[in-house]
């Protein structure tokens, strides 16, 4: 069996091969072929993941850790890094989720992207993303993880700005890039500190050192805090979540795969992976748990006031990531990964369903040749799609119910386990528990609102009235995802507990009937409250949203995303701009968006002064040399004292 593990690098190699094939294939390749090649590469990777998983399963629980050495980076003595793969329950579980969801979304994209002139580029990036994500997951050290981390980020920016002809999309890609830079700045410092402390990047020796308490807790606290800064960027937690809603500018399959199911969960994976480190820093664990819980509630609240079908899902994703981060922070790695898995299925389902709706509306709109601007994402222009797109409706309904946490669907089990894991710890965890219950209510509420606005009642636009069901290449993956959204939770159901036993043999899942009842009641309450407001009969003609009269000004605040973008603009961007303008007349020959470039302006104003040295006069340049020489000389004299 050992020989199989030696080949586990194929999991990463297959998508990379797909990328290369599409890279070197000529421009004449039929677009269908491109998609099929990419999908087959993803499928092969999934197959290999299954094989590795099975091989690992065949081993006794205590032997389920295989380190495959691929590459000896014989750099120089202090920095010896060995590149290898770490095959263990956590990484194989992640690889399975990533490759399965990835394969299905590749197939779906063949239909969704048909006719796009840049389809080859699209599939290349998608394959590259898959390979990078798998590298991140399977790496056996923090450095390679970071390489994967940056690569998935790169793919993400490229795909958000895929339709860069629209300036907003390009801007959104850049916003994601820059916001993530802030998080990665912390991450980089954390990595350096990690290396400085442990002298290696490899998980094994680091965890061993932690186990033997060979390092100071204070340093570990700082390291984990810095790593968590990276997590807030990539996994869209407060305060760096602002990029994810704008990331919806990318094609819908990208939103489903990268910005819902896989890449954004990298942060959760990082916390789970570095769990031994976090376990040594209880303070940071508290911070992580609380930030996760607050994010969950906060994003759920904003989701209630959104009209863009994908934005609702984006805020929902942020909210659900908050659940995972909270659980991972509290040390419940099993629960976090469990929710990561179920969420990957039902959120991908929801995104693809939303894509199907958008696709249908776009086609219906284009049909009569109406040149007026039309936003196919706007839920206010939908309604009554249940009869016109039954397959999409039913699958979407299943996804929504799973997200809302209705038993016996997937979301119910995983959310339940997170809530249970937070009980009985006390302190911050109890607070987080309360916040997450509130978020659960809001989740049920906004999903019901969305289903009501999109599918119930009568059409509120010409396009909605003429929409048709999407082609089979899109609906079949919907069905498959719907199936998983139903059953994925069962693997960890009471009495079975397979996933938790797999990830954490020492912590079997517990099932509290009263907790399950409470969660179900809360979900039902959310659904009931939303249905009371949004049922077609309660919705008078011409009213934009029946919730607006109920909440008044606060609803407007919700539609404006609680003014966080404005707040950041006020707190960071404006002051920098003011200072920059005050200090120097900065010439800005190329329009840069103010929203993200405040820091650059500040630097620019300082640089403007330095730049005046470059006056063009040789003699002045010479003077600078002489001044430098004199300074150096006096430094020497000072040393000679």
């Amino acid at each position: 069996m050992g020989a199989l593990f030696e080949w586990s690098w194929l999991i990463i190699a297959f998508p990379l091969l797909g990328f290369l094939i599409n890279l070197i294939s000529t421009g004449q390749t039929r677009e269908r072929t491109v998609g099929v090649v990419a999908s087959m590469a993803a499928a092969a990777s999934f197959g290999m993941s299954v094989l590795v998983f099975a091989a690992l399963l065949a081993r006794p629980p205590e032997a389920r850790l295989v380190e495959v050495s691929l590459y000896r980076w014989a750099i120089v003595p202090p920095l010896t890094a060995e590149v290898g793969l770490r095959i263990d329950p956590l990484s194989t579980a992640m690889a399975l989720i990533v490759t399965l969801v990835g394969t299905l979304i590749h197939v779906y994209s063949i239909g969704y992207m048909a006719g796009d002139p840049h389809i080859r580029r699209f599939f290349m990036f998608l394959n590259l993303f898959l390979a990078s994500m798998l590298l991140l997951v399977l790496a056996d050290n923090f450095l390679v993880l970071f390489v994967g981390w940056e690569l998935v980020g790169l793919c993400s920016y490229l795909l958000i700005g895929f339709w860069f002809e629209v300036p907003y999309n390009a801007w959104a890609g850049r916003k994601a890039f820059i916001v993530n830079r802030i998080g990665d700045f912390g991450f980089t410092l954390g990595l350096l500190l990690l290396f400085w402390t442990f002298g290696t990047f490899r998980y094994g020796p680091i965890f061993e050192a932690v186990e033997h308490r060979a390092v100071e807790a204070g340093v570990v606290t700082l390291i984990t805090l810095l790593l968590f800064a990276g997590v807030t960027g990539k996994s869209a937690q407060i305060p760096l979540y602002v990029w994810l809603p704008d990331a919806m500018a990318g094609p819908t399959p990208v939103s489903a795969l990268i910005h819902a199911a896989t890449m954004v969960t990298a942060g959760v994976y990082l916390i789970a992976r570095a769990h031994p480190l976090f376990a040594m820093a209880p303070f940071v664990q508290g911070v992580v748990t609380l930030i996760g819980a607050v994010t969950a509630l906060w994003a759920a609240l904003i989701a209630v006031g959104q009209f863009d079908i994908k934005r609702v899902l984006a805020f929902s994703t942020i909210s659900q990531l908050g659940y995972m981060v909270a659980a991972a922070g509290a040390g419940a790695v099993g629960a976090a990964i469990f929710h990561l898995g179920t969420h990957a299925f039902f959120k991908a389902l929801l995104f693809l369903g939303a894509g199907s709706v958008i696709h249908a509306l776009e086609h219906a709109h284009r049909h009569p040749g109406d040149p007026s601007p039309f936003d196919p994402n706007d839920m206010r222009r939908m309604g009554g799609l249940a009869q016109r797109m039954p397959l999409t409706f039913w699958t979407y309904g299943i996804g929504a119910a799973a997200l809302a946490g209705l038993p016996p669907l997937a979301g119910f089990w995983s959310k339940d386990e997170i809530l249970i894991s937070l009980r009985g710890i006390g302190g911050w965890a109890t607070l987080a528990y309360g916040l997450l219950l509130g978020a659960a209510f809001l989740t049920a509420f906004y999903m019901t609102r969305q289903v009501g606005m999109v599918f119930a009642g009568s059409p509120r636009s010409h396009a909605a009235a003429h929409a048709h069901e999407s082609p089979a290449v899109m609906t079949v993956p919907l069905g498959i995802f719907a199936f998983f959204s139903v059953v994925a939770g069962w693997i960890n159901a009471p009495g079975l507990g397979a996933l938790s036993a797999w990830l954490e043999p020492e912590h079997p899942p517990v099932f509290h009937p009263e907790q399950a009842l409470l969660a179900t009641l809360i979900a039902l309450a959310g659904i009931g409250a939303a249905w009371a407001i949004y049922r077609p009969q309660a919705w008078p003609e011409g009213v934009e949203d029946p919730l607006r009269p109920v909440l008044r000004g606060f609803f407007t605040a919700l539609t404006r995303k609680l003014y966080v973008d404005e707040l950041y603009d006020f707190l960071f961007v404006r002051p920098f701009e003011k200072v920059a303008r005050g200090v120097a007349e900065v010439v800005e020959p190329y329009g840069i968006d103010g929203a993200v470039n405040g820091l650059a302006r500040l630097v620019q104003s300082a640089a403007g002064r330095v730049r005046r040295w470059s006056s063009g006069y040789v003699r002045q340049y010479g003077l600078s040399v002489l001044i430098g020489a004199v300074l150096l000389m006096f430094y020497i004299l000072w040393m000679l004292r």
Partner: protein, 170 residues
Amino acid sequence: MGELIVFYLLAGIAIATALAMVITRNAVHSALFLVLNLVVVAVFYLLLGAPFVAMVQIAVYAGAVMVLFLFVIMMLGAERVGGATGLRWQAPLAGAMGAALIGGALFAFLQTPAGLAPAGSLPAPLGDPATIGERLLTTYVLPFEITSILLLIAMVGVVVLARDSRSEGK
């Protein structure tokens, strides 16, 4: 004592000619003061037991190089340059920095006891052309060859730079 007087006398001339070269307005005068300065330094070379270097200094430097300078100045009619400059702080600041450089260097040298040592014994034949020639072809053969290449590069470079590209007719 007499040695010291000669030194100070020559040093005074060297500094004076250097200053005059920097200060005088006319480029031709500048060049001539530089020639004087080079000659004084050549005299120092003789005093320091380096007759060969002194001869090279006179022949190559004071002779050929400075003649070239004078020739170009005359040819371009560049005795004086006109036009105002925008660099108001340049001269005072440069002067201050130059003074600081000199002052700092002198301060450091005065703290160097090794520099106060009397002249070591440089056996007479060492500084003569024959010995130097022998060294040039043994220990210093590589720098010697490099220098010849440098002269060649300079020559070709001058040809390339001086050729009138407009009338090449290629």
